[in-house]
Symmetry: D2
Subunit: 346 residues, 4 copies
């Protein structure tokens, strides 16, 4: 194990600031050394909270810095391509928040560049794979004790989203997690996607198709159904039920620990709190994701979701947006699996 990993964080909005705090306050083996953000005041403020952290104006300069071993990329998706390619060029380990890039072509360019440059460097931020329940579910399905996996049923609910969050963003930014979950749990590509919309809730912004129902066909013949409902008003509810030949497994059913009984004017109730948002629900997954990334980087390895995973998820969501617009099933076309790319698939 190498000595401490010197880490930079690029983009210090909510997610990047979270990762910075995580690195400093509850991650072993890492040292936050630099942050970068177009909003330089925000970057400077964050840097000032911790000892020995510089604020760097140009993210590419941060990536190229010899004193930086690894970066967390939490900048907006449209600058990811340039930043990830710079990491590959400078042999800097990267944890890139999803989406890898905004379209399948640019994601594929990253896959190819990384594969051509040598051993992998990039982990994509599908944190669900590090959630203890999803990980245990994967292990249970892979053990074969329940036979072959036949179906998945995913539920993805957010309390509410801003008015600017439009119908296609529900596919690209919310459904994308379920795309990765289906690929992860089945261990197969998605070959076809259908995204349908019932009459929308009256609570969403005008014109936004919310909720949505998506169907995936898997390469091996399995299927997945998903409800995405981003203005459900209650809280952040994420569940996954896998149906196998001899049993089922559910993640997310018991995620809220504390259980209470209370009375109000209408009667007495038992139950618990629904997590308010993804940070509350997946706090542990993020911690484990970042710790695993730090540990792997120190060993000179990459674990977890690859750039191919990021590329495939983007390709599926692009097809999904087309399906939402047309109401028809849309086939997912991925790049041919060359020897080079097969290496990239890890």
């Amino acid at each position: 194990m190498a000595s401490e990993l010197r880490v930079g964080v690029i983009g210090v909005g909510m997610m990047g600031a979270d990762h910075a705090e995580r690195l400093v306050t509850r991650t072993a083996g890492a040292r936050l050394v630099a942050v970068s953000d177009p909003d330089t005041a925000r970057a400077a403020e964050l840097a000032s909270r911790y000892d020995g952290v510089r604020s760097v104006g140009d993210p590419l300069e941060l990536i190229a810095d010899d004193g930086v071993d690894a970066v967390v990329i939490a900048s907006p998706g449209f600058v990811h391509e340039e930043q990830v390619l710079a990491c590959i060029e400078h042999r800097t380990y990267a944890l890139c928040e999803k989406p890898l890039t905004m379209d399948a072509e640019s994601s594929l360019r990253i896959v190819e560049a990384e594969a051509a440059a040598g051993p992998p460097l990039v982990q994509v931020g599908f944190m669900r794979r590090f959630d203890p329940e999803y990980a245990a579910m994967k292990a249970m399905l892979d053990s074969g004790q329940l036979g072959r996996t036949l179906l998945l049923h995913n539920t993805h609910r957010n309390k509410a989203v801003p008015e600017s969050f439009r119908s296609e963003m529900i596919v690209r930014d919310s459904l994308v997690h379920e795309v990765d979950v289906a690929r992860f749990l089945f261990g197969e590509e998605i070959t076809e996607i259908t995204v349908l919309a019932p009459a929308p809730t009256g609570v969403a912004a005008e014109g936004v198709l919310d909720p949505q129902v998506a169907l995936f066909r898997m390469a091996g013949g399995g299927m997945a159904t998903t409800e995405v409902f981003v203005n459900c008003q209650v809280g952040y509810e994420v569940r996954c039920e896998a149906v196998a030949e001899r049993g089922t497994v559910v993640a997310g059913r018991n995620s809220t620990g504390l259980y209470s009984t209370v009375a109000d004017d209408h009667g007495g109730y038992w139950g618990g709190q629904v997590p308010p948002d993804f940070r509350a629900r997946f706090a542990r997954a993020y911690d484990l994701e970042v710790q695993a990334w730090v540990d792997a980087s120190r060993r000179g390895e990459v674990v977890g979701p690859s750039t191919w995973d990021g590329y495939a998820a983007t390709a599926v969501c692009t097809a999904g947006m087309e399906s939402l617009a047309t109401g028809q099933p849309v086939k997912v076309q991925l790049a041919e699996r060359t020897a080079l790319l097969d290496g990239a698939r890890r």
Copy 2:
């Protein structure tokens, strides 16, 4: 309230014998007076179990009998039309097990005959509507406290079925319950159905498409997703989750009462038993259904699912079988709503 209802049971296989026992041992206000079955020995044996019960060879004679006020029709579906029409002719109240008939045309003939003959006489055996949880769910959704209902997610699993139970029977005999549930909870017709099949379980009989995934489009724009899996190996699992604008409701989640912890060679577990079959799960629903039918018949009324409900369910399942064969969505065409038929819709 009239004096005791004199009831005959037609068809004394598993379901009919169950109803006979229910009438005698745990239903108030009813007297079982006659049974009929093509297997006359079986009918005679059942009659001999209870005081004052005759075995009648011809079911139509039983229906026409002045000493019989009402009949439970638990014979095979293909003789339902003749028997129900005889009930209408003789003004005999009937509780007809589902399916009302084997095809939409004959079901519609019953609807029309009943409507033409006067006040309604026939309740169709969709017992789910009498299950306390489904009934409470309906009441909660109708109360409006959660806003408009947007989506339903139904799960329908049987432990196993005989080899003779083929793909289209999964639609006609299993999915039909979820068809009625969707119509009941939304209070609307289904206008389109899609039935899809993933790669089948290896546990089902050769060539049987099991599990299946169905999508319903409702007249008001809502949608329902359904998993039907009739060889799931575990037990009888029926759940329904309704998603409304400001909350969700789930029936069937806590249906098994007793909760225990036990250890086996692999570790320690908490949990409970999954009901082995529909009779265990819906025992209470059947009791309440039959009591409600007896009570209504004594008042000269009909409650619960109507012949129109039976007709509509058959029409949807017919479309569903076509969808399963073609892989395409199929529109559901119901008869025009004339004044006559509107009366029949109750």
Copy 3:
């Protein structure tokens, strides 16, 4: 099986009126023929609701009536002795609501009188034994699959009680159910009881010791702990956890079926309703209790809790009231088991 059982109901307050309705509307094989109550107007009003039901002024006349085969005794506890003894004298089957009588001596007189008079006639109304969960729990413990039962933990909570409900009534009217549960599940007598009181809730009436904690020692060495809290504000929560050598069983954990998610001003919640009172929680148990009593009476038998069970429960509660007053464990002294009484124990 004899023809219909002709039943009278004595005492038509909440409980008696409930039983009358149960007999008429959802019990097979019974005919309600008479009711009696000191409030003759109330009795007459109830009688007028159903066909062929007389109102009888004197309960002892009702019991002696040749046209009455069996009576439900739902009168106040202090008149039970006279009424039950009259049933024994006239060979009238009786379902006597708990408590059998107000003190152990009078209960014992009933036990002895019944035993001396011939085959048993009296069932005591500990309805919990007919609750499907308690019954399944008993079956599971008796099966031996979990080894010997070591401990019980009972929880008994009511939403609220009237101000007139004093500390000792918590023992006599609430705890008594847990006394019977412990005797039923262990299949043994209670030999010692301790009733302790923490600092009381501020919500109860002045001077009422609520909640209370009771400990039972069983004849075979087992123990039971019980919380009784009759002003818990939330609802009617009754649970029982049995701890055996190789596992545990819990009744009452999943008794509320419907499960929902909702949001209020403070956040989002999942959960369900707590039953408001014992009638909601034990509706099914009462139905099964009365049906079993009717069925047994028609066969000339008695099932369920015996007069000995009623006597023992009263003796334990009397000791419990002494313990509450003194803060000390109190031994329970039951009558010697003579051949006569052993017969009475069934």
Copy 4:
């Protein structure tokens, strides 16, 4: 915030080795620099697993070392007094595993020595206080929204213990956690303890009183009941139910996340795994405990359970062992609260 905390671990059995790994692999701001154990080979082996960790023969030398800022004391309880006093002498921060010492007198000597020496230095390892559910429960009770806390019901079950684990160790080593939980949640001292034993399980070692039932009386009048069952065969089940004036809170009910359905030869079941041991159940609590200790030490502070908490827990358990032997309630006598000691109570 000071730079990295240089930590030594004293005692590298299961618990100490766990803490060493925790410090190295998932704690921020700490550097493991030395370990010590009477089994020098074991200490050397552990030291060799990590970069820059020395093995030190004499634990007091390790404590006195200027290159060590803080120590985790995971040695056997009977050497704690000497080691903790050395920490106080050398102003070394300490996280001392429970029990603080083996008897109340020596624990009180530590309290007094720490108080006399200046600002506090010692955190006692009652990790439950850092478990997210227990912490949330404490917050909910302290918020006052449920009124005053009246009762606690604790359940403490281990799958099995070695034959050397005798009756009194159940009080001292298992019940002690529930002692701390009661003091923590009520925020009050325990004034009286009763420990009772039902007829023991046949699965425990000969002569061991298992399970046990304990009752605590709190200074403010509240009570707590506890079941401790250390050979329950199933797994590690720890639950706590708090009963307040207007509602209840339960921790530990949903602690196992994954939920599945499976079939075996006897039927179909739903449920999940019971954690096999305390390390699985409280992994997160230990992580949070150690991180909080490291963070506080770097700030020059102590958080979490104090030496007074360790002393009080030992005093209660000593009384509990007397109660188990005599079958009588035993009063708990704590040292007078002088100004000095009040400071120590934090």
